[in-house]
Symmetry: C2
Subunit: 137 residues, 2 copies
Amino acid sequence: MKLSKTSEYALRILIYMSQSPDQLYTAKQLVKELKVSDKYLRRLMTDLSKSGFIRSIQGRDGGYTFIKGPDEIMLYDIIDSVEGMDKLNGCLLGFESCSSSNPCAMHYLWMNLRTDLNKVFRETKLSDMDFNKILRY
Amino acid sequence: MKLSKTSEYALRILIYMSQSPDQLYTAKQLVKELKVSDKYLRRLMTDLSKSGFIRSIQGRDGGYTFIKGPDEIMLYDIIDSVEGMDKLNGCLLGFESCSSSNPCAMHYLWMNLRTDLNKVFRETKLSDMDFNKILRY
DNA sequence: ACTATATACTACCTCGTTGTATTATTTACT
DNA sequence: AGTAAATAATACAACGAGGTAGTATATAGT
């Protein structure tokens, strides 16, 4: 029912950047706009570039820019890359052995809910975000 | 998208106990059946009795039994008492200032999903659980 | 009163997540 | 070549959730 801070930040950053996807964003700029700590953001940006969402350009006049277009990136992909979407899809009661053939008491109830959750995150693109509503802090 | 371990355990325990709600359950018995660590379960049971779901009976021949009937306890109440349902209902992007009048880019998307989640947990009773599907471990 | 068996309470330990500090590397410009 | 401005990488600190140990307290049966 809640994402990790890392997912929060990743989404914040990429949603923010997708306002003008061709622009080169510096860490300094993102830190200022999004109020994520400098060091933490930089580390996260490295992860995001390793995951292939953005390219990092080192050196003077460097920064970060998109590789894929925001219309090619699903919210699911972002969350999956930073915290693992499968973690969120386990048994709600924490039973290792829970499955459709051996369901726990809440299995079908939870399955329906999480199917909807997954569907939305799988089908929503970064570019579907409403850019009139970019909060900063 | 996931509950805390404490919520998992609380649900496990109460769902298990609601199989025969008038029975007196000892910690030892619950530990054995549900594979939750002895000390942790005991501490959690104290919390659950303070929250008014169960009564604890100390001393020899003591144990735990329901106060309210399982048809009076909503899943929402259990989760809310052990981890605070409000924590799960915050802004998905972690913006403090996010609200309907000042929404973040994902506000309405997330609002719809979490409304469904809340609805199900608010409307589902402990006694609605399928007791043919009580997994133990 | 004593004992066995149960819960209550307090303090501590462990570990993953979050956040910070420091140093190294890369690149454009002059 | 030298400098300034940017990212990369690594190590470590702080915190909270989860889990454990040990002691105190309560109660039924004898």
